[in-house]
Symmetry: C2
Subunit: 361 residues, 2 copies
Amino acid sequence: MRKKKSSVSALHEVEGVKQPLSTNDSSISKIKQKRREQPSESEFVTKILAGDISYLSRAITLVESTNPKHQQKSNAIIEQCLPHANKSVRIGITGVPGVGKSTFIEVFGKFYTSKGNKVAVLAIDPSSSVNKGSILGDKTRMEELVKDQNAYIRPSPSGNSLGGVAQKTRETIILCEAAGFDTIFIETVGVGQSETAVHSMVDFFLLLKLAGAGDELQGIKRGIIEMADAIVINKADENNIKQAELAKAEFARALHLYPPKESKWQPKVTTCSAFYNIGIDKIYELVQEYTSLTKVNGYFEKRRSEQNNYWLLETINQQLKTEFYTNKNVKKALKKYITDIENSKTTPFKAAQELLKLSKK
Amino acid sequence: MRKKKSSVSALHEVEGVKQPLSTNDSSISKIKQKRREQPSESEFVTKILAGDISYLSRAITLVESTNPKHQQKSNAIIEQCLPHANKSVRIGITGVPGVGKSTFIEVFGKFYTSKGNKVAVLAIDPSSSVNKGSILGDKTRMEELVKDQNAYIRPSPSGNSLGGVAQKTRETIILCEAAGFDTIFIETVGVGQSETAVHSMVDFFLLLKLAGAGDELQGIKRGIIEMADAIVINKADENNIKQAELAKAEFARALHLYPPKESKWQPKVTTCSAFYNIGIDKIYELVQEYTSLTKVNGYFEKRRSEQNNYWLLETINQQLKTEFYTNKNVKKALKKYITDIENSKTTPFKAAQELLKLSKK
């Protein structure tokens, strides 16, 4: 019994996924065997490069694990996969709930696979630690895409910090690319900070919208519109067509108010109906146009390089802050200093210097 | 003559301003004497609280000095002034060159002093280290305000980093308030990052504009409009009146597209002619309205407290980054890691972890 428990928790460690406890004795040896059989790094790499989805999934599980040993292993796998990555087009897809994102991704993904592409669908959603993996639910809705041999759908990694989730997603992209996926969709929910994170890891940013009543611009996060390379007004069908066209015109006007992008790409607005499969080809064409333009003018490569720098600096900065604010002395003194500032006993600048000194004691 | 020289070079240390070196022997003892004569901290504080402009200026010079001894002294002075500060209304004034900022500040400042207020005009402009103090030039243009007993104009502190300049400006505000100035103008040039810094140290943010030809919104930094509590269209005179009114309407429409502010203040657009002294009273009224509203609803205090927290965290964060990137080991290794990332030999995340380890060696 003791033995069993330990081996089960060993498996837990290996895969980082909760497994049901088995009470059957013979299962112990199986588990042990399984453990011995855990593929080596080079086995992982060979299989991933051969496009083996089961190994890809297991490697992503290692990436998502919080166990340091797994992280070490996944780092090694990623490092060996890196030279084979970077060859896809990464598309960020965002939109508020209700906009028809899963239907859109299903139809858009199917269009890509029908053109001979291999599509991986990932999600970034820091809140998913609460309702574990919004895409998991989506997966049941993306019936067609799930069955497609050339598509791979992976739920959002759970995590408390956006930075952590973003890191896992970035590393997952590398693994998927090494496994031969040439098109990566990264879905995000369109209501929080995660759009900025997604924007900093994709080549093309697509905003899904609905035609609403009245002022289309009201209440939209300006930053998200500014990031968009395309705004797609979904559900442009049946009685909705006229309104969708009006919304399209309004967004087009709004986009023209923004300064030109460094990519030289003029963001486009288009309509579609994912449900009736109308207008999907136009969106595919847009992405093609964009990648052609930016690959020729050098922006595509430049942006990827900038994104790498961004993540390097961002990771360092986050880590420095985490170390500082979890420092015992700082934790103890911080409140007192904030109170002192509020009571005009010290300035923020002097308090900062003193806290920095404390953090080094 | 000698006496004068020696005291001047002593002043060099005290005031942090370059002065010709004296080679005369007897001057040394004089310097020493003068040094002994340098006012004590409590002398500084007493004089500043009594509204002595000459002591105020010398204290600000200490704030701006890079000499650690001066910083220690200015810190002590600021600390004793703090309980007497915080009682002014701080107004940020921004606008691109050519908008008539100096004329506006001169006339607006005179309006304040005519109402019995005491006005200090400061500037924040990190680029002024190149053309030392844009306001210095302005000062000659603000002929009336310079002569005004109830006005104090202080050129922009020089400095390489925006953070450093911002800190000096914030500390200067405290000294001016302790000296009895109840209205602080903080001028910025309206083309760079400095607006965000100014916005984080003022109560009211005023954007000066001109009526242009065509689309008023084109090319304006959206962030700046979003920060504005009032947009003032200057030079609304002679043949310009109609265009200014059109611009006013257009800005008013644009402002309505933004989500309501936490202050519950609906940003206003108005026109004026600083040159002909038309419409200045309306702007004064706007500021009064704003402060009444936000002092009653609690936002005024809340915002100042948030600004203090912002500067505390910002200073800590900047300092952590500075320490990291000036670390010898990091400096040596950083380029190699960036190259490795570019050549797909490592990921930004792994590189970050390794650099963080190096920084602790």
